[in-house]
Each structure stands twice: as C-alpha cells, then as structure tokens.
Symmetry: C2
Subunit: 81 residues, 2 copies
DNA sequence: CCGGATGTGGGTTTATTAACCCACGAATAC
DNA sequence: GTATTCGTGGGTTAATAAACCCACATCCGG
C-alpha cells in the first residue's frame, strides 16, 4: 500500500474506533481498562498514528463488546482509487 | 489478550485468509503479486505465525478483492470464553 | 476549594512486523 | 525431459508496534 493511502486507511480506522467508543460512552481510560491496553495509546490509535496489529484490534473489540469486523466497518472507497 | 487466545485468534484469521485465497483459486505467489507482499510471507500469515498490522490486512484485502472486514469474518466465540 | 476523572502530549525499551531474499523438492505444463 | 510454477522452510535487517510510564491543564461534583 502506498504511504499516503496507508495513512488515510489508519485515519479512517481511527475515526471508526472513536465513533464506537463514544457511542458506548466510554472515556479513553475506561476503555483502556476494559481492553487491557494503555489509555494514552488508545488516543494514538484514534488519531491514526499507529498501524495496530490484529491482536490489538481484537483487544479493542473485546473491550468495546463488538465483533472485530465492526472496527473495520468504514467506507473503503479510498482503497480503490 | 492472553498468549494462548492471541495464538488462537491468529490461527483463526489464517484459516479465513486461506479460505478466501483458495476460493479465488490463487496460489501464494499469485496473491503475492496482487497485494504486493512477499509470497513466502503469505504462508506465514495463513499459518498464524505473524500478528499482522491492519495496513497489511488491507493489502491482502485489496489483492483478494474483498472488503477488509471479510478477512475478520471468522467465528469469534473463542474470544468470549 | 478540592479530589477525581479526563484529554492531551511526550517519553522509553523490547519484541516483532515489514520487507526483503534464497534454496529445495514436488507437481504441472510444454 | 526440461522449464515453470508451486508449497515449504529458513534466513536477514530496518522500522515500528507493544507495553509501559509520566506530567499537566481542564472540567466537574461535592
């Protein structure tokens, strides 16, 4: 994946994560406890600064109480351009 | 995520990847060209040896012509135990 | 006013992913 | 029978994700 597209993908993912977290009315620190990751790292994920692995993705899904698929449920049109 | 569960998750992911690749009748090397990753790495992914990042996940999805979500479309019951 | 939670930004070290490459034997095709 | 493609297994090095930690300003409730 090209540098630019990769960055865009991570930002889209971050937005999706943020969306779900807020829908569940969880703070960074609350979610951090639920999914056993550091609270300050979650913000990095939501900003699209980190290219997380699927294990971390699943940790987040567990904490949020959704299927891992949900976290990738963003519009993927930008991938096709 | 506990060590054991993480391993199980990666194996489930690998199986799903293998399933889709075979359904599309692609060899490791063919898929490798389509998604621009090394052919010998794809086998490692399918064996669950590597905890890939979402950028690589998307590369695979692009090569396979499916939405990234599809690659996480495995049964996640083992996550809940 | 004060204690607690929150968002934010900035660090560190260690493990491991990404991105490569090579060689072999078996199966497939020409 | 040889050229191609395949699965397989085994490497390397550089980049970075994981897993931590800390400080501070703000906001809110008691």
């Amino acid at each position: 994946m090209q540098r630019k597209k990769k960055k865009e993908a991570l930002i889209q993912f971050g937005k999706r994560l943020s969306q779900i977290r807020k829908a569940k009315k969880l703070s960074f620190r609350q979610l951090a406890v639920l999914c056993d990751v550091d609270y300050s790292d979650i913000k990095k994920f939501e900003k699209g600064e980190v290219n997380i692995t699927i294990a971390t993705l699943m940790d987040l899904a567990i904490g949020l109480g959704v299927h891992p698929k949900e976290l990738l449920g963003f519009n993927d049109d930008f991938l096709k351009e």
